[in-house]
């Protein structure tokens, strides 16, 4: 069995308040870059699949050299190999082009039985790339996966987390699954794995390696464009402390306030 985890490097969300819309639009956030938090669950599940059903787990990402840091985090957690896909023509690719690049990367690496992605990225928030990969490869997609029940006889059985409850479904391999945070608790890398990961070479596959023409990707092929970005105004809250000698008096004042001033009751 072979599992490929597709992951993205994103800005650390704790630094998002500092980032301006102009920086975000230019793709130059100037923030600390980390492994997309949703993808940590995907990496963990890719490793658990290997531990449960045997085989190899490969981390895959599209992006410039800085993305190696995210791939090394995945290696440190326990992925066996990492591959980065990059070519100057890949810059400014939209979800669809990114999915094409990742799909070609998976094919070039010899395919996969189970492709694991996170639910979405914390910067783009589109939750579209997993769909694109499945389309490009022509294989089933299972989203919202909260538990892998079993992998056997060329099929995968999973529980999907839906608004109404949990749904158990089965699909033939190969398959793309996108996982939610309920699926596992990502592990911390041990120092020994960190040391190994920091010394593991990460091969890079270019547009030529993937047989991708410049007009298929990047700005030229983008179907989605971010024309403008607006930062929501921080919410301003008014705090009123209700004074009173007894809890009963405070409760009475609160009730009066809710009925007479806020008129919510």
């Amino acid at each position: 069995m072979k599992y490929v985890v597709c992951l993205k490097q994103t800005p650390d969300t704790t630094e998002l308040p500092k980032i301006t819309p102009e920086q975000a639009l230019a793709g130059n956030e100037g923030a600390t870059l980390v492994l997309n938090p949703w993808d940590e669950y995907a990496v963990e599940e890719g490793i658990r699949l290997k531990e449960r059903f045997g085989g190899e787990t490969v981390a895959l990402s599209m992006g410039p050299e800085s993305v190696d840091q995210a791939l090394r985090s995945a290696l440190a957690m326990g992925c066996d190999r990492a591959v980065r896909l990059w070519d100057p023509s890949f810059a400014d690719s939209d979800y669809w082009s990114t999915a094409l690049i990742l799909a070609r990367g998976i094919e070039k690496d010899g395919g996969a039985d189970i492709i694991v992605t996170g639910k979405m990225s914390v910067d783009g928030n589109a939750a579209a790339v997993a769909h694109g990969i499945a389309c490009k490869l022509g294989i089933p997609l299972l989203t919202q996966v909260a538990r892998v029940v079993d992998v056997s006889d060329g099929r995968i059985t999973v529980e999907r987390l839906l608004d109404e409850g949990r749904e158990t479904v089965t699909a033939p391999l190969p398959v793309v699954i996108s996982v939610v945070k309920e699926i596992n608790e990502p592990r911390y890398p041990t120092f020994i794995r960190i040391r190994k990961a920091s010394r593991t070479p990460i091969p890079v596959l270019s547009a030529a390696d993937l047989n991708i023409a410049p007009e298929e990707v990047g700005q030229a092929a983008a179907r989605v464009r971010w024309t403008h970005l607006v930062k929501p105004e921080p919410k301003k809250r008014q705090v009123t402390i209700i004074e009173g000698d007894t809890p009963e008096e405070k409760a009475r004042k609160l009730l009066d306030y809710l009925m007479d001033v806020e008129k919510v009751l």
């Binding site: 840091q69 985090s73 120092f191």
Partner: protein, 381 residues
Amino acid sequence: MEFALSEEHRLFRDTVRGFVAKEVRPRARHIDETGEFPWDAIRKMGELGLLGLDVPEAYGGMGADTLSVAILFEELGAGCGSTALVAEAHLCLGTAAIVMFGSEAQKQRYLPALASGQSLAGLGLTEPGAGSDLVHGIRTTARRDGNEWVINGAKMWLTNAGVADYVVLLVRTGPEGGSRSLSQMIVPTDTPGFEVGPPEKKMGLHGAWSHAVSLDNVRVPLENLLGEENMGLHQTLQVLDGGRIAIAALALGIARSAYEAALQYARERTTFGKPLVEHQAIQFKLADMATRIEAARLMIYRAAWLKDQGQPFTKEAAMAKLVATETAEFVTREAIQIHGGYGYSREYEVERMYRDARLMSIGEGTTEIMKMVIGKRLVTE
């Protein structure tokens, strides 16, 4: 010259930072307020190998270098001073003494459990009448009786004594006195006669328990002598040299955390019609804080580098501890000043950091002892 962390160190720092953000810092206030021992974090650190970080791999450790140790304690210190101090006393004092001076048999016997965090360790030096002046002050004695050492006396401020399985004690074995009259002993804490008092009531670091210990005819086998008989003082000073890099890093972590809290507060709080950060008086404070933090980190990293290169580092470790711990006091004070009245309130973390930082220029060699160590090296080198 290279000022960037290697890929290995960067990945390690990011990992520890993530661990601290999730497992250590959220508990810091609770630990401070209740004085609970940080078992959760300590157990998890054991599983990750952090409690044996620089113990050689042959004995179950991670075999990491001193720079990694410095990185670990800066991050832990930034999250929770108590948790950091527990780990520091375990790894850099008790365990380090066995790594440095243990026989092959002692290393094989004690280190695997200590490196994995199954057992904790501590180092007992201070006594009711002995702190900085160990040579003249130590009154705890060990005398031979057949196949055993019989230890009598008392220790103070023994961090981890109540939770450790083993402590290394500095005891007098030579009645003639002088610097060659002390020895280090490995003492299991369940030995009859080893009595641990309740955790001391302290200004800060409430979750890092420090105890008074009385030793009443505590018998350990002769083989529990650590290193060479009557060379315990020299051995202890060498252990403390390494520990100083870690305690300096811990203090640096507290300082960094207080600085970051102050910067964030100064961005959010408005006075006289503009955010605090736009006032020059506040910017000057932030500039001093950030500059001293940067200086302390460079000194710590250099001392760690010297140690890893096998070069003399006693003076540099003392300088790093001196600067980092005084920086921690300065920065936590200024952080409270920037917070104003709120900074004095327990609602804000800087109040805890100020109290935690205060120990750093006392424990494991006071600021004054650091200056003696530095001064002695300056005039004799």
